[in-house]
Amino acid sequence: MKTNGLLHRSAVAVVVAGLAFSAAACSSSGGGSSSGDGGKAGDAGAPLDPATKVTITADCQPPTTKPAERKQWDDDIAAFNKIYPNVTIKATDGSPCEEPAKFTAQLAGKTQPDLFYAYFTDTNQILDAGGAQDISAYVNEKTVPALKDIDPSVLGTLKDADGKLYGLPVTNYKMGLIYNRKLFVQAGLDPDKPPTTWAEIREDAKKIAALGNGVNGYGDYSATNQGGWHFTAELYGLGGKMLSDDGKKVAFNSAEGKQVLQNLYDMRWTDNTMGATQGLKWPDLMTQTSTDKLGMYVGAPDDITYMVQTLKGNYEDYGMGPMPGGKSALLGGDGRFFKKGSTPDQIKAGVAWVNFKYLTMGKGQFDYSRNKTDGLPVGIPQPSFFGGASLAADNTAKAASATVPVKNYAPYVSTPVPGKTEPANAQQLYKVLDAAVSAVLTDKNADIAKLLTDAESQANQVLSSLQ
């Protein structure tokens, strides 16, 4: 039919045009990096000139559902603009600040803001996507006066293999044992003396689970890569390693790794202190703890804030002890990265804002008297990336304005455990380990040695494919 012939030609033309467009799009994406490279950095080390007129976009503005934090953000912007009247920060809110799937898509589409939130473990992903600008030249003690006091291992998580810096830390945590003081008392345990070894945890968990009414002694995650994350934390606590020294092979198939899984297996199946409901993921353990159904779990200090602010628990009911084993504590956190292609003025403005809001004692997040007035918690042992004079000033200021029962965290604070950062390619390794953790919590016949050997083999395969 003639009409069909015409249609055919039209369709062919559209398809050809589409393919040509695809090819063009593909070739443009092949280049990778966007236009800018940070511009001239001759005067990069100098602080931002207050007269500079520049606009930056930023994420992680507190949402309106957190009115106190939102108000503080607005007040801080106003105070920042008194120093830098021509800097405009166009912020978008979000809670949580990062959703991994959306973040990955943003990086791929290069639609992240100029100053963007990311976890420490995202650094590799960001660099692989060509998503961040090297800010080494812009960060010094003139632009970030507290720089010398920031824990080098924390700064290290924001650097590449060549030592180039791509972001600044905003908060961090070291994991420890979170426990429900109310259940401790009910079970006849001393709430000021939490267990510090796995043997003690097992014993205490039995007493707590004996309370009945669906109360579990100990809980752990085992889904969405969080089982692997907690395995790592528990392994670090026992002194184990995730990676070999050269980083090319995994090292978790060790005596410590076996002990981590054996502890979980024993509590789940021998002691029956972990309950039948498994496959838990964030924030299930917090939900259970805040409803007095869980005695202990491994977590970060800001879990307590979440249990109070979001789940309506009471600060009085929660305590924190050091990481079981006490050899080292998994150190994590988040920072702000600078989008690849940002201009020097945008980077300087971003550094100035992060310094003002997150890294200056007495200002922004460290304005404890304001936090107290606004009803925000003061006294939670987090962030903990400062040392030296900044740490002393922080401790003094925090103690002066404390609003939470800091004695509940004394066991955690008074037994400092060295922090240890998460391994490279953490999420890929966590995913592999999720299966092993899930197995010991759901299969009474789980073979721990085999699970670890299989996980080791699979993880090494993943690492070799990433070389």
């Binding site: 045009a17 992903q125 390619n425």
Partner: protein, 325 residues
């Protein structure tokens, strides 16, 4: 009205004045050429163009991109061609085979439950004399429920400590189950939830097909002394064969792409990866592993496409042969 499509008008105009080529020659319409044809069907081609642009951007372009990305890798902001590296990586990943086993298991179980059950519910509804409309709504109701809400409802039902199902089992003094918390029962639990959520649509389609079967066939079967099962086998199934086979294909294609149910019920992987499906693995590669694995995810998507296309072609060939018989 100018600009509107009138099939009658268009057909009359494009119809040859005489017969065959003589008519077209006599009318001299070819000489008027392309321009006249375009003008004559302008609005139709306009609509067609819109549809093609939409398909081009939202369907074909992503498909072409997926194929291209399957052979690329992005490292430190630079995208390079890597040949079959991405395919090698997925074939080397033990989760790849695990995910396919789970996907086939889900498809099999979903067909046993999700294909047969709606058919028998439809037969039952077709035989009812009373409350037919009410029961039809009841069967279709789960389809109208947002999938996330339905899945979360089942997640609550499945809770081994305080869920409804174990409460019922305890009341009946029967042994309880770990449901989603055991690698042995997790997949079956996912299938039950998925079947409950989706069977309403299939049931209504079967019902429509059943109602199209002439009553005389059943009367003739009655006269021949056929019982219920014989009527089902010799009348109902042959008469609905077309719709049954079409739905079988659609269900296989849909169930092999299962994602929402395991993602929400078990977090995707489930105990010991027992509910990890291929599409979930695609998602995990792309978004969940903290890397730029779009190439690997695309490669797996491509494998899925090839498998489903192969299956559809096989099905098409088999049904053609069966029609010829």
């Amino acid at each position: 009205m100018a600009g509107t499509i009138s099939p009658y008008k268009t057909n009359r105009r494009s119809a040859p004045a005489g017969s065959g080529s003589a008519g077209r020659g006599a009318g001299g319409r070819e000489r008027s050429g392309l321009g006249q044809k375009v003008r004559r069907n302008l609005s139709a081609h306009g609509f067609l163009f819109g549809a093609l642009v939409c398909f081009g951007f939202f369907t074909w372009y992503p498909m072409v991109r997926e194929v291209i990305m399957s052979f690329q890798k992005t490292k430190r902001g630079k995208t390079t061609w890597v040949g079959f590296d991405n395919l090698e990586r997925i074939f080397d990943d033990p989760d790849f085979w695990h995910a396919w086993r789970n996907t086939f298991l889900f498809t099999l179980l979903a067909l046993v439950l999700g294909f047969a059950l709606p058919f028998f519910v439809a037969v039952l509804l077709n035989e009812l004399r009373h409350a037919k409309a009410y029961l039809r709504i009841l069967v279709y109701l789960p389809v109208m429920m947002p999938p996330v809400a339905a899945v979360l409802l089942f997640k609550y039902f499945y809770n081994p400590d305080y869920g409804l199902f174990n409460d019922i089992l305890r009341t009946l003094h029967l042994p309880t189950s770990a449901w989603l918390n055991s690698p042995d029962t997790a997949m079956v639990s996912v299938v039950i939830a998925a079947t409950w959520m989706n069977m309403g649509g299939a049931t209504l389609i079967y019902l429509a097909a059943l109602q199209g079967i002439p009553g005389e066939l059943y009367e003739a079967a009655d006269l021949d002394g056929a019982g219920l099962l014989r009527k089902l086998w010799h009348v109902t199934i042959p008469q609905t064969r077309l719709i049954l086979s079409l739905l079988l294909l659609l269900q296989i294609v849909a169930t092999m792409q299962v994602f929402v149910e395991p993602f929400l019920l078990t977090g995707g992987n489930g105990p010991q990866n027992s509910t990890m499906t291929v599409v979930y693995l695609v998602y995990e590669y792309a978004f969940d592993l903290g890397g730029n694995n779009y190439g690997v995810a695309s490669a797996l998507g491509l494998v899925m496409l090839v498998v489903l296309a192969g299956f559809s072609a096989l099905y098409s060939r088999l049904s053609r042969n069966s029609d010829n018989d």
